[in-house]
């Protein structure tokens, strides 16, 4: 029966297509050599797969920083041993890696995961395993409600949403359309936009969710155009960010395009080409570090990280790598302050960190705030002639 054969083929193919082949585990299987006396730190990053934009710079940053720390004598005289796992952006893989790191490797802390969906998937596992989690993802829910062992180094998406609305108010925009990718980051961001719309007097005329592997958004944009929106907000971390910009120009859809802090990666600007110019988005200060005044508290740190990263990897540093940088420096600072690697003591020490300068902003942790960042961690930026610059209000 040919019919059933094709059925089977279609089934096999769709499983492979949807789940992604398991072949990319190459980066994950770096066997952990036990170094006596070292402090074990686990990392779960989506080094490959659709969120590789986040995971790859995070892994590179973590490795670079640990080398630097160890070369300077380590922490409390002990070296840090990184165990990096590649989750390929899949919450299922992140979950099994979290179990592995906690139960088999008994790590002190886990850095990552890169995406919000993965972070939420392992939040409870880390809490129950009493292992410190320093997530590099944006979603609010990671640290709200607070789980005692769960922290995050990336700024909250609600700040990004509020910055966008603040800018819209200045431009007199009242009616908007939202596009979001169908993943943790996109959906969480859309929820924040919906939540803060009424108090900013913004009407959401249409809201669409697209597959993260999409290659064409003209249909969805056409729908938004039909609703006569005054601006489009796209919330995602996937390559579709460049696609939205291109498709809008292609359709002659001439309204301001706002994007989330996920756009803060020069690669999207390159992929979007001339279409990326004029995109308005909130982001941390790493991208425009050289434009900061010399007395800005973050300037020195940002310039140093940027220089080290770019000299070593010959690619542009991104905020996402910065989140891994912050997570690691927060952890090592807490270990130093606690004077021990007892999980409970290190956890308490993180909660006590005040005025800690990171790449994402100035962290002020407390029992209630496991993110430590505030609205000032973002700036509104735009793209001009293929380069990031401050968004100047008219």
């Amino acid at each position: 029966m040919k019919c059933t054969l094709w059925f089977r083929v279609a089934a096999v193919a769709s499983v492979l297509g949807a789940g992604g082949p398991g072949g990319a585990a190459w980066a994950a299987e770096e066997k952990a050599e036990p170094t006596p006396g070292s402090i074990k730190v686990g990392c779960i990053f989506s080094v490959t797969g659709p969120a590789a934009y986040l995971g790859a710079p995070e892994k590179k940053t973590a490795e670079m920083l640990v080398e630097k720390i160890n070369a300077a004598g380590g922490v409390l005289g002990r070296k840090i041993q990184l165990i990096v796992k590649d989750s390929e952006g899949s919450p299922e893989r992140a979950t099994s890696f979290a179990h592995q790191l906690i139960e088999e490797e008994s790590v002190l802390a886990i850095i990552g995961p890169s995406t919000s969906g993965e972070s939420l998937a392992i939040k409870n596992i880390c809490q129950e395993g009493k292992t410190i989690l320093l997530s590099c993802a944006a979603a609010e829910k990671i640290t709200d409600p607070v789980a005692p062992y769960v922290f995050k180094s990336a700024p909250k998406d609600s700040y990004a949403a509020q910055w966008i609305y603040r800018t819209m108010k200045e431009l007199g925009i009242k009616r908007i359309g939202i596009l979001a990718s169908n993943d943790g980051f996109g959906l969480a961001g859309r929820d924040q936009l919906v939540k803060y719309a009424p108090q900013n007097e913004i009407e959401i005329a249409a809201s669409e969710v697209y597959d993260k592997a999409t290659t064409d958004l003209t249909g969805a944009l056409n729908k938004l155009q039909g609703q006569n929106v005054q601006a489009v907000v796209n919330w995602s971390i996937v390559p579709a960010q460049a696609l939205v910009a291109k498709n809008m120009r292609q359709l002659g859809f001439d309204v301001p395009l706002f994007q989330s802090h996920g756009f803060a990666n020069i690669q999207y600007v390159r992929a979007g080409g001339a279409a990326a110019n004029g995109t308005i988005f909130p982001a941390g200060r790493l991208l425009i570090a050289d434009l900061l005044p010399d007395n800005h508290p973050q300037k020195k740190l940002l310039m140093e990280y940027k220089k080290d990263y770019e000299a070593r990897y010959h690619e542009d540093a991104s905020n996402f790598g910065g989140h891994a940088y912050d997570a690691l420096t927060i952890l090592t600072a807490a270990i130093r302050n606690a004077g021990s690697t007892d999980r409970e003591k290190v956890r308490d020490a993180i909660e006590k960190l005040q005025g800690f300068v990171g790449t994402a902003g100035i962290f002020n942790f407390s029992k209630e705030d496991h993110n430590g960042l505030d609205m000032t961690s973002f700036e509104m930026l735009t793209v001009k002639d293929g380069k990031f610059t401050f968004y100047k209000r008219n």
Binding site: K2, F7, A10, S14, E208, R249, A271
Partner: protein, 296 residues
């Protein structure tokens, strides 16, 4: 719905549909000579685009694309020589599983050779911001290149299969393998040639679509699924039907957006695939006996 919005949906549908159609045509070429569905077809598309993007840094765009098509065709031939030809007892299902393996292998190799980042070829005419107006709908000039390439590929392949000796030989292999062999046709090499041809067609598709859809190492699998749906919908082996089916699916998907949330777009494709497999396994345009040539 205002008329220019309808025109716009049509254009979106036709653009996406013609991309599906070219991938489906790649499936058909190999199916015609071997009875096998090559699930690495999507990877050929990405490989072609990636190669062209790298080469374009060194040479004019047209030459880079030509070379990329050639290189991908050679790799397609190699895939056949290394993986398909050596199978001791080739059954259709076994070969299909091998092509799925090859697709994973190609994908991971591309990840190592290039990187995980998104790339794009420059626009052939105009830039990212150019827009042309046709029948009230706005579109990128690159979309016209895509449509043109699709038409060219279909016309070229029809002529090739009808009027040239190798084309006829390939069709002979499909119609009756033993008879073709008795006529002196080197069936084995025809299979290799079909892999090269479909890889080349895929690569060309990858190059013309890259400026608008962008290219990333892992974009092949979703493309292959859609292409497969279209190939089945049109009737396996029939390239003109694949174009019709591709446009049909593209239009269905585009107009589904106007009624349902965008998130259900893929549901449309899968429902169509399941319905066709259940009620008309030979496809919309296929003859009922068209699907019996599947012995290798």
């Amino acid at each position: 719905m205002p008329i220019d919005q309808i025109a716009q949906y049509c254009f979106s549908g036709i653009t996406v549909g013609s991309i599906y159609a070219i991938v489906a045509i790649g499936f058909n070429i190999i199916y015609n000579t071997t009875g096998v569905i090559n699930f690495a077809q999507g990877e050929f598309v990405i490989l072609g685009a990636m190669t062209a993007i790298s080469l374009a840094a060194w040479m004019p765009l047209a030459i880079a694309i030509g070379l990329a098509v050639l290189i991908t065709a050679l790799i397609g031939g190699l895939v056949e020589l290394i993986f398909i030809r050596r199978v001791k007892r080739p059954t259709v299902l076994r070969l299909i599983i091998i092509t799925i393996g090859v697709s994973i292998l190609l994908r991971e190799t591309m990840l190592h050779v290039w990187d995980e980042k998104v790339h794009a070829l420059p626009f052939f005419t105009g830039t990212e911001v150019s827009s042309v107006t046709l029948l009230g709908a706005h579109t990128s000039p690159q979309v016209l290149w895509v449509l043109g390439a699709c038409a060219l590929i279909v016309a070229g392949l029809s002529l090739f299969f009808k009027f040239t000796a190798p084309g006829r030989a390939m069709r002979a292999c499909a119609a009756n393998r033993t008879a073709a062999q008795l006529c002196g046709i080197k069936v084995r090499w025809m299979v290799t040639a079909s892999f090269m041809l479909s890889a080349g067609v895929g690569a060309l598709a990858g190059c013309v679509t890259s400026p608008v859809t962008q290219t990333q190492y892992d974009m092949g699998a979703p493309l292959a699924i859609k292409g497969f749906t279209v190939a089945i919908l049109g009737g396996l082996g029939n390239s003109v039907a694949a174009v019709a089916a591709g446009l049909l699916l593209g239009l269905l998907e585009a107009f589904s957006i106007s009624l349902f949330p965008l998130a259900y777009q893929d549901v449309v494709a899968i429902v169509v695939l399941l319905a066709v497999l259940c009620f008309r396994p030979s496809g919309l345009f296929g003859r009922r006996d068209a699907h019996v040539s599947g012995e290798f």
